[in-house]
C-alpha cells in the first residue's frame, strides 16, 4: 500500500530533516535534507534503519542534502554494500551537488550504479572518471 501522507520523523533542530514520502513492503521512498555530516550521522542511520528492513527496495531522495562529509558517503556506501549482499535494492535519486562531488572524487559512481543527473551548467565541475569500471551487482551505469 502506498501511503501518501508525508510525515516527519525528526525535524531539523540540527539542520537535518528526514521524511518518508511513500512507505510500503516493496518500496519505501524517503528524503533526507539538510546537514548530513557526522553531527547527524547517528540520527540518519536511525531513520534509515527504521525503513530499511521493512521493504525490499529503498529509494532515497538526496536532492536536499546541502552539507555532506565522508561519514555520510560511507553510510550510503554501507547501504549499497549491504543491499548487494542481502538481495535488496537501494537507490539514490536526485543527488544534490555536494553528494555528487563526493561520489565523483571517491570513484563511487559505478559502484553505486544509480542514475546521476547533472545539469548542463554544472557538468564541468565533475569528472566521473574514477573507480572500478565493472562492479559486481551494480545495476548499470548511466550518467547524463
Amino acid at each position: 500500500m502506498m501511503d501518501d501522507l508525508c510525515f516527519r520523523l525528526s525535524v531539523g533542530e540540527n539542520g537535518l530533516e528526514c521524511k518518508v514520502i511513500k512507505s510500503g513492503a516493496d518500496v519505501t521512498e524517503a528524503e533526507i535534507k539538510g546537514d548530513c555530516t557526522i553531527y547527524n550521522a547517528a540520527e540518519i542511520k536511525k531513520f534509515i534503519s527504521k525503513y530499511y528492513d521493512k521493504s525490499d527496495s529503498l529509494v532515497l531522495n538526496l536532492s536536499g542534502v546541502d552539507e555532506i562529509d565522508s561519514s555520510f558517503f560511507q553510510l550510503l556506501l554501507a547501504l549499497k554494500k549491504d543491499a548487494g549482499e542481502s538481495n535488496k535494492r537501494v537507490s539514490f535519486i536526485a543527488h544534490s551537488i555536494p553528494v555528487l562531488k563526493y561520489i565523483d572524487l571517491y570513484g563511487a559512481a559505478a559502484m553505486f550504479g544509480d542514475r546521476l543527473v547533472v545539469k548542463k551548467e554544472d557538468r564541468d565541475k565533475f569528472d566521473f572518471r574514477y573507480g572500478l569500471k565493472t562492479v559486481k551487482g551494480a545495476s548499470g551505469n548511466e550518467s547524463r
Binding site: Q74, A78, Y106, G107, A108
Partner: protein, 746 residues
Amino acid sequence: MNLDSAKKVFFLESRENLQRIEENLLTLLENAHDQEFINALFREVHTIKGSAGMFGYQDVTNFAHVFENLLDGVRNGEVGVSDQLVEVSLASHDYMKNLIDFAENEKAVPDEVVSEGEVLIERLKGFQSETENKEKQKAALINYESVESRKPQTSTADTSTGVENRYWHISLRFGENIFTTGLDPFSFIGYLKNIGTIVNVIPVTQQIPEFKDFNPEICYIGFELDFDADKGIDKVKIMDVFEFLTDDCTVIVLPPHSEVDHYCQMIADLPESAVQIGDILTQSGTLTKAELEEALELQSSKSTDDGENHPLLGEVMLKEKMIPETVMEAALEKQKENRAKEEQRKRSIRIDADKVDQLITLVGELVISGANIKQRIGQTDDTDLSEAVEQMARLVDDVRDSTMYIRMVPIGETFSTFKRTVHDLSRDMGKQVELVINGGDTELDKTLVEKIQDPLMHIVRNAVDHGIESPEERLAMGKKEKAVIRLNAFHESGSIVIEVSDDGKGLSRDRIYAKAVANGLVTSGQNVDDRTLWNMIMLPGFSTAEKVTDISGRGVGMDVVKKNIDSLRGVVDIESTEKQGTTIRIHLPLTLAIIDGFLVTVANQKYVFPLDMVLECTDVEFNQDDKEGGNFFTLRGEVLPYLSLGELFYGDNFKNIDKTNENRVFSHDDKNKIVIVEYARKRAGFVVDHLLGELQTVIKPLGKLFYNMHWISGATILGNGEVALIIDVPRLIEYVGNNVKLRGKK
C-alpha cells in the same frame, strides 16, 4: 587556543628552525654531499613555510616556497652544491629571518627589503632554471629513472623489475575516529589535485559491516589511489598532504614503477585480505595481470617449489607477507628511533624567564630564612630538632642548586652563531679560517650567555680581522693556509673560562709599546712585562690597527669588551706570542644570584668572599715583610701579595677600631688571619679580623647609592637579619696586583 600565544610559539620555533638552517648550511660547506644535511635543510624550510602560511605571513611563505623548491632540487641531485649555492642560501636565510623579525614587531616590510627579496628570488630561481635546462636535454625516460633511483628502498634494484604502472600509488586507511576529529579525507584527496592529476580513486569497502551493525560515526572505508604527480613533486611532498592525519591512519605512497615486492609489502600492511586488495589493484589497472603472475612466479620459486603454474593470487600475497618482515622490522626500528627523538623534544618545556626569576628570588628568601633557623638552632640543645634542621638545610641546598640549574644553558648555541660570522668575514677578507669549538656543552647562566655574546663576537671578529694573516702571508711563514680559531669553554675554580685563540700573527709588542708611550701610559725605556702591555689594548682609545676596516680597528672595541665583561664580574686576560697567535681568556662567575660564601669580619663589619674563589685561610706573621715595606708574604715558598682589608676600607682609622675590637673580642696575639683567594689564575691574600665560616649567600644588588663602591659587588642578608657585604674578589685581586707591585718597585 589564544592566537597570540600561538604566534609567539611560531616566532620562537621559526628562530630555531632558522638557526638550524644556518648550521646545516655551514656544515654543507664542509660536507657537500651529505644527504642528511640537505634533507634536514629542506625540512626546516618546509616547516617555516607551513607554519608561516598558517599565520598568514604570505611573504615568508612565498619566499620559503622558492627556497624550498631549490633545496628540493638539491635534494634530488638536480642542483649541485656549490659555494655560490650556499652563499645564496645563507642570504635567503638572513632574508627570512628579517621578514620574521618584521612580522614579530608587526611592522610593514620596507620597500628596500622587499626588493632585496625579489633579487634573491631571482637568484634562487637562477639555480633552478639551470636545472630545468639540463632536464630538458634529458629524455623523459631518464627522468623516470632518476625518480626510480631517488627512492631509498631500491638502492640496488634494477629498474626492469619495477611494475609498468607509471603513476604513484597511494593507499589510505584511516583511524576509526577520523570523522569525529573533524578531518575529512575528502579534503586531503581533493588537495592532491593541486600537485598533480588523480588518475583513479577506488573506495575500499571491505571493512564495512552489515548495515545493522554499522556504526555511522566510525570510519571503515579506505582508498586506493593512482596519482600522476606534477614535476618536482616527490614522495615527501605527497606524504605532506596527509601530514595532519593522526598516527592511527595508514598512508602508503609507492613511487612510479615500484617493484612488485613493494606492492606486496603494501598489501601486507593493509588490513584487507590480499585477495581483496589484489582484485582492486588489478581491476584499477595499478598492477597488470602479468605483473601479478610475475610476482607469483617469483614467490613460488622463493618459498616452495610446488611447480604449480597458476597458484591463487591470495596465496602468493600471503606468502609475500613473509618476505618483507625484515624490512618491516627495520622500518619499525627506525620509527622507534624517531619517536624517541620526538619524546626527547617533548620533554623540554618553554617557561617564561620571569617565572624562573621569581622562583629564584623565592629560593633566595628560603635560603636566608633557612640560615636564620640554622643559626637559632645552634643556640639550643635540642638534638632532634637540630638534626631535622640539618636535613632541611641539605634539602634547601639541593633546591637552590637545582633552581640555579634551570637557568643554566649550554654555551654551544652561542658559539655556533660565530660560525657564520667567521665564514662571512673570512670570505669578505679573502682569508681562510676554520672555527673549532670545544666545550660547547659547558653550561652557564642564561643572562651571562646573552651578555657575553657581543663581547665574544667582537673578539672573534678581531681575531679574523687582525689576528689571522692572508693565505699568502701564512704560506710564506710556513703556516698552513687555513687558519684556525678556537673557541673553548670550561670550568675552572668557580668560574667559567671562555677562550678565543687564533694561530695568527699575535700581538705586536713593539707597536703596542710605541702606542703606550705615545698615549703616556708608559715612559720610553720603561720595562713593562707582556701581560701588562697586552692588557693596555683594552684601554679606551687604544688601537694599533694600521688601517681601520669596517670590522674593527677604531679603538672602541676592546675597551667596550672589557667594560661589558667587568659588568658581569668577569675578567679578561690576554696571552700572545708573536707570529704564533693570541689567546683571549675570559673568566666569568658561575652564577649571578646565589653563591656559597665565606664569612669574615673586618672592624666588626661582616664581609663575604665567594667560597669558590677561596683557596685557604691561614695565620701569618708579617713582621719581616713589613720591614721591607712591601705587602708580600711567603706561603709554602710561594710569594703572594696581600692587602689588609681594614686598611683599605678604613684607612688610618682602622688601627683605632682594630685595637678596641681586638681588646674586646678576642685576645689573640699579633697573628693575622689571612684569606687566600684566586681568580683568573692570580692569587692574593686578604687580611681580616675574624673567620666566621661558610654560608649560603643570596646576592642582592646594592642599588644606586652604592654605585661607586669598587670593592663590593653586592650585599647579602644573614640569618639574623644583619647585612654582610660581598667582596668583589676579581677587582680586588687586580688592585692588589697593580698596587703591591708598584710599591715593591720603589
